[in-house]
Symmetry: C2
Subunit: 328 residues, 2 copies
């Protein structure tokens, strides 16, 4: 069996026990169709199959490539592209139940022309990104139905409050966003009110389904919200150089999502990252060749750099899972 020390670094490591614990915690709170796991966080059909085994058969994607990969992996029972597209032809040919978010006449027409059968009306609930104004949702639903599309309900992502640290304030802000979405839902109809994310998994009581993704692997940003989810992944790196008061490991900007800032290394202060290096000051002396854990600040753009997860138990690599949903 391969050991941790055999891995070429930087290597994306997944701790299956922590992953399974995260999946179990979430599926206890949001069983079956109450959760629509978002695959954008992990981009891995093998991991999505573990989510399916935990009872979830609805999935959520951010890109057409993710939709194609999920359908090809036999996970296409109910796939939502929670994103707008102006060319839906690659979606229309999938062997899957495909629903796409729409927030304009143009995206509705694209869905219809592309052969997609069903849509959700995407509503802006406070984050300046996609989503129609709430008062326009009913009109778009009517338009979609006139073009022969099934309207399954509404979607609205309260992304602007995912990181609100105070729980009471987070709940209040979540309710305000969801009231906007529910008013839009009254005009739109359909059975689905799809919203939420890992940041509001336990306080969004208004959505019929929660689109959480990060909970499976977790990252340091969400860690501060004190959720019952564990850090289930990190990047393994090798100490390749030692300086006066600092060490250098082979894990840099091309192995880490950097939009939330520097990664962390336990027992060390990170100085900076270069393309293929991280320079840090360890509290205890390190040796050349030592393996260290680098914990990225943001899971999603980190995973997207890597070809595979290495599943590790203790010092053994027990399996590899392809990050097979990368690209567009």
């Amino acid at each position: 069996m391969k050991s941790l020390n055999d891995l070429q670094t930087p290597a994306l490591i997944l701790a299956p026990e922590a992953l399974e614990a995260n999946l179990a915690s979430m599926s206890r709170a949001l069983p079956g169709e109450r959760l629509r796991p978002h695959v954008k966080a992990h981009k891995c059909t093998a991991l999505a199959k573990r989510q399916q085994a935990a009872g979830h058969r609805l999935f959520c994607c951010a890109t057409i490539r993710e939709m194609e990969g999920m359908a090809a992996a036999g996970l296409g029972q109910d796939l939502l592209l929670a994103n707008e597209v102006l060319d839906a032809r690659r979606l229309g040919v999938l062997d899957a139940r495909v629903t796409v978010a729409v927030d304009s006449e143009e995206t509705i027409t694209a869905a219809a022309r592309g052969g997609v059968g069903e849509v959700l009306i995407d509503v802006n609930v406070g984050l300046p990104r996609c989503g129609c104004p709430p008062e326009g949702a009913g009109k778009l639903a009517d338009s979609a139905r006139r073009q022969g599309l099934g309207v399954r309900g509404v979607m609205g992502y309260e992304g602007h409050i995912m990181g609100v640290a105070d729980r009471t304030k987070r709940e209040e802000a979540c309710e305000a966003s969801m009231q906007i979405l529910l008013r839009a839902h009254e005009q739109v109809g359909g059975e689905l009110v799809s919203a939420g994310g890992t940041g509001t998994w336990d306080c969004n009581r208004w959505a019929s389904e929660i689109q959480a993704g990060s909970y499976a692997l977790m990252d340091t940003a969400y860690k501060e919200l004190e959720f019952p989810f564990q850090q289930a992944f990190w990047v393994l790196a090798t100490v390749i150089s030692l300086g006066d008061g600092f060490a250098v490991a082979d894990c840099g900007l091309k192995a880490l999502g950097m939009d939330h800032g520097n990664p962390t290394i336990e027992g060390a202060r990170v100085w900076f990252c270069s393309d293929e290096h991280i320079t840090f000051a360890p509290e205890e002396p390190l040796k050349l060749g030592d393996r260290i854990r680098v914990i990225p600040a943001h899971v999603d753009p980190t995973v997207a750099y890597h070809e595979r997860f290495h599943l590790v138990e203790g010092e053994s690599v027990i399996d590899d899972w392809s990050v097979d949903l990368r690209g567009w």
Copy 2:
């Protein structure tokens, strides 16, 4: 012929005329072996072949995978891994002339055990990253020779001064770093003094060869230094949603290196990036489906997210080049 509008976005675009102009400017200033193009910036053997056609036959890599890909593409006449490794076995089997940077007894032993024939002594010239203390370089060279390795000279990367905006100060700092390297070179011997980058391409007069990479494609950080290199690449994105005072395009954190901050969009103010979105305020109204240029702040980690460059002339896509040196 495919047109720009046929491309799935986000798409990495390369402007071949600008690329060729950049290659020509550089090879006029640093002809032939005066330049050792660094492939980490573009990770593309097709682009490296254009650099070879411009007269350069020495290349520089940051990862083992880059070394393997360059050798496999027939570009292995003289490949330098300008980085430390503690397991060189994948390098020792390459059908190429392989030189690896070393800065410790352990990396020297790894080179010898891995079957690599030649090394450069990597010297710390001011950037706290890899490189031995200058006063230890001679001892390492002796040790390498005792282990049967050819010592081709020294390497030192003055990365800490690449972004110094004032040219006079940049030159002074560059000279200070190179004096350190030259003193180490006296102890080490060998014909090579390998250093530099795009930031010091025209002021580093002390190195025998310059390791520049970004000059081929350029990014916004270097743009401020007023070099004769043009922006030769960008990410093409589609406007997928319009809000009140803002627009949203399909180019986010997984299509952009974010360590130098937000990308720029001409004629617009960028608000923020999400995983698959960029929200921005355009000066002139945009329509849904409009294609826009997103210019990343840092070329290297942007390219590493993409599978291919699309070469574009006007509105036509004239070729695709695989970004075939990704991963480790």
